[in-house]
């Protein structure tokens, strides 16, 4: 339907319904379509014959879109299953009726539309909403957010656990590999369960890499987030684990050499014992790991603040508790208060704890400057938009000529806006005199010249600036 005489569609509808002939005509008619990247439409009689053929799915996978209409529910489910099996891709099925239920169940992601045809599809689905067009939001906004959140969560949780474990490993070098744990057993149990658990959960639930407007309107952002190796992959995971080992080495050896090489660390001659060293290094680990998480927080709400500072407060409280109870945990009794009174412990904490963070900060700063990813550029565009709206300069350290250039550019944008304003004004003006027709004509011509002149004069940047300036990113 809707195809010309020579189109493939017309030929298919004329094809006989025997299996053999359907195959051959299909092959003849589909290949030209593939070369031109057109769409293929199959009807039920072809479907019965073809869904069982392997070649069909190979061909279908090469097409940009395949429309199979008048399918029975089982055929729909069969299509989804075969595509999953043969291409190994993640399949999403969306439907609104009861006949879509098997298909939705078969797919990796099933989406049901709640609406006119009832909620049978929604009951069987993983996601349900009210309109087909919300699929756009589901994929591009929520899909991108979920991917980023999960990748951050996995990488960070391995990282923080690796830090604790590697510290114990490094201590083995100094304790004859006897298995003596550097960290006190009780406080170490709380490490993963209490001190470092909640902030990452908050990030994994609430983090937004890019805001919803950007993701909805710029599909390329979605691509840049979910493609393999961008945010998560074998290489990235390996890099994070190496990061953990390097950071632990920095923290551990700095702390040990600061605290224990020369013995005395209190002004009253007192020595830094094993458990004081242990508490110091543990506190350094927790603070460093928590602040490392802030590097991964793309957006910060008050909930983040609450759980982040709350976790540190809980750490302090539990430390005090262990410090005060003599029999519960005799190792740490009175150790933690002594540590807080020790100037060397504080200095070591500042040095050893901030070194890995500074290293990461410097690396990230250089990476954003010289090798920004697409997402970094998009985030900066959002910042630029805010700055334009507030009238701020884009960079303040720039030399005078660059700033003058930018000022000139802004003035040019103002000129263009004024021209457009004039054009708007001319459009609104009305004249009802006898010569009004001529005036109106002249007005129209001038208005056209203004508009076309304005558009031709403006550079691409000015047009961008106008688009961004107009408000919420909607095209003017």
């Amino acid at each position: 339907e809707g195809g010309g005489e020579n189109s493939a569609l017309g030929k298919i509808s004329e094809a006989p319904s025997t299996e053999y002939e359907a195959d051959s005509t299909l092959l003849e008619t589909i290949f030209p379509c593939l070369k031109k990247e057109q769409e293929v439409r199959l009807d039920k009689k072809d479907l019965d014959a073809l869904l069982l053929k392997e070649d069909f799915f190979e061909l279908a996978a090469k097409c940009k879109s395949v429309i199979a209409c008048r399918c029975t529910p089982l055929q729909k489910a069969w299509i989804v299953e075969e595509m999953k099996k043969r291409t190994g891709a993640v399949c999403l099925a969306i439907g609104d009726g009861g006949n879509d239920e098997p298909m939705i169940k078969k797919a990796n992601v099933g989406v049901g539309i709640v609406g006119e045809e009832g909620s049978a599809a929604a009951q069987a689905a993983d996601y349900a909403f009210g309109q087909f067009r919300y699929l756009h939001t589901l994929l591009f906004v929520h899909g991108a957010w979920s991917y980023e959140r999960i990748s951050i969560m996995v990488l960070y949780i391995f990282y923080k656990t690796a830090i604790a474990a590697t510290t114990l490993f490094f201590f083995g070098f100094f304790s004859g590999f006897s298995g003596q744990q550097l960290f006190n057993i009780w406080i170490y149990t709380f490490y993963n369960a209490v001190f470092t658990a909640l902030p990452i959960i908050v990030v994994a639930v609430l983090d937004q890499g890019l805001d919803a407007d950007t993701l909805e309107n710029i599909p390329k952002a979605y691509r840049s987030i979910i493609s393999r190796g961008q945010l998560f992959g074998t290489r990235i995971f390996f890099r994070w684990i190496m990061n953990a080992v390097v950071h632990t080495a920095i923290v551990f050896f700095t702390a040990f050499w600061c605290l224990d090489t020369n013995g005395i660390s209190f002004p009253n001659g007192q020595v830094h014992g094993l458990w004081m060293t242990s508490s110091t290094i543990f506190a350094i680990c927790i603070v460093m790991v928590s602040f490392r998480l802030t590097f991964e927080m793309r957006s910060i709400t008050w909930i983040h603040h609450f759980f982040f500072w709350g976790s540190l407060a809980v750490f302090i409280l539990i430390s005090i508790g262990l410090n005060v109870l003599p029999t519960f945990n005799p190792d740490l009794f009175a150790v933690i208060f002594a540590m807080w009174r020790n100037p060397q412990a504080w200095l070591t904490a500042i040095l050893a704890g901030s070194l890995p963070l500074l290293l990461d900060l410097a690396i990230r700063g250089v990476q954003i400057e010289l090798f920004p990813s697409y997402m970094d550029l998009l985030r900066e565009r959002c910042l630029m938009r805010e700055q334009y709206q507030k009238g701020e300069e884009t960079f303040r350290f720039a030399p005078r000529h660059t700033r003058a250039q930018e000022k000139k550019h802004k003035e040019g944008v103002q000129v263009i806006k004024a021209k457009l304003g004039e054009a708007e004004g001319r459009k609104d003006s009305q004249s009802t005199t006898k010569k009004s027709s001529v005036d109106a004509l002249v007005n129209t011509l001038l208005r056209w010249r203004d508009l076309t002149g304005a558009v031709l004069d403006a550079t691409e940047e000015a047009a961008d600036a106008l688009v961004m300036d107009s408000g919420e990113g909607k095209t003017a």
Binding site: S175, A212, P326, I368, M384, T394
Partner: protein, 466 residues
Amino acid sequence: KLEKNIVNEVPAAGDAKKKKSLPKLESHKSDSLLTEEVKLELQNPKCDDDAQAEDTQLESHRPPDESTWCGRFYQQKLPRLQKPLTPRVTIIVLTVVGCLFLLLGGLVIWGSNHAQYQMVHYDGNSDFYENEGFTVTRQDCSLPAERNQTTRTCNLTMTLEQDMNSPVYVHYGLTNFFQNYQSYQADRYYRQLDGTTADPDSAYCQYYVEEGGDKYLPCGLMANSMFNDTFKLMNSDLEMNEDQIAWEVDRTFRFRNPSGYPEICDDDYLCLYELYPGVVSREKGVKDEHFMVWMRTAALDTFMNKYGRIEQDLKKGDTLTFEVTARFVVEPFNGGKALIVTTNSWIGGKNSFMGLAMVIVGTIILVTALIMFIKEIICPRKLGTQDAIRVKAEEKNKKEETRRARKVQAVEQLDEEADEKGVEESKKEDEGQRGSELPLANAEEKDTQKESQASLGAGVASPPQQ
């Protein structure tokens, strides 16, 4: 309105032509079309999907209102701070932290230099702290295995090389003694040390639990390996105080003798004074401060423990004489012993590593910040765009690549033409046509050559189009 004006004016023929060429700038809505129905629909548009959905949506299906906090939380529209990392932030943070480290490093180095250490090695071959800027002398008071000695008394002399202000601390140092070994750390029973019970518990102590019917009162390896060298300051005008060297918590709370002490020691308990005669007195028992200091274990195998305190000012050139009674055997595990006299500063003792590390790290950080700052001044990157240096580098690479690609293409074209020529020549031979064909063939070849040259020239001359 425009059309209305033109229509009402009854245009002339010329105007009519103009009218046709005029583009339609305004919508088709004229007054006649604006019926009541149309007006109603304009006010209540039913084609708006959201509006339609809201009408038919159940109360329970509606998302929470965004004006409430709850609504904002569910719609993920909480107020957020969402700023990317700009170079300005990086530079400021690095500068501040670098300056802080330099400052602190300077203070630490000053404090560390202020502290003085003086050390006498009297057993073993280790180079205990020799490289740290201490003053070290070696005198021999060792207990070698050949001599099979258990005690030995010597005099250790120490000539001070600097003024030392009170309080001057006296420490003993051990090397190669792993107090941080796991079975060593595990081998202590806090209840006995607490004074709660007198009986050892084999769940806690693996070694030194019972011997010949007598139970060890502080059981375990840690308590029974105490450093039992004693030092006595022989200077008549100076006095070394051996009290208040342990932690206050230990002295008041954590180490107590059990009830029935010291009478139970005579019956079936082995108490400390019996294990370390001459070091721990019967009255003190577990409350002996040297014992408490020993039980606060060290983190490394090379460590110093507090022994005493001299609360008088000492001058440069003063000679301190200590009489040491050496009982602790270190030769089997290749350990070393030393006597150390120190003064401390605000930071504690000498710490050559920390000050130096802070200064070096601070310098590196400031240099990094400076480099980034210079880069921002010379060649700043406009937000949202690629860096200019990188863009130039990439363009250069692309130009080279396109040049190479074109060269390859040109070579391929020449190859193709050579093949075609070969084919043509073979064809001519087959057909046997000469004479009239040849000039034509030549002309063809010339043409193709010209074409190829032209295409080559065009290819090389045309600018790379990105």
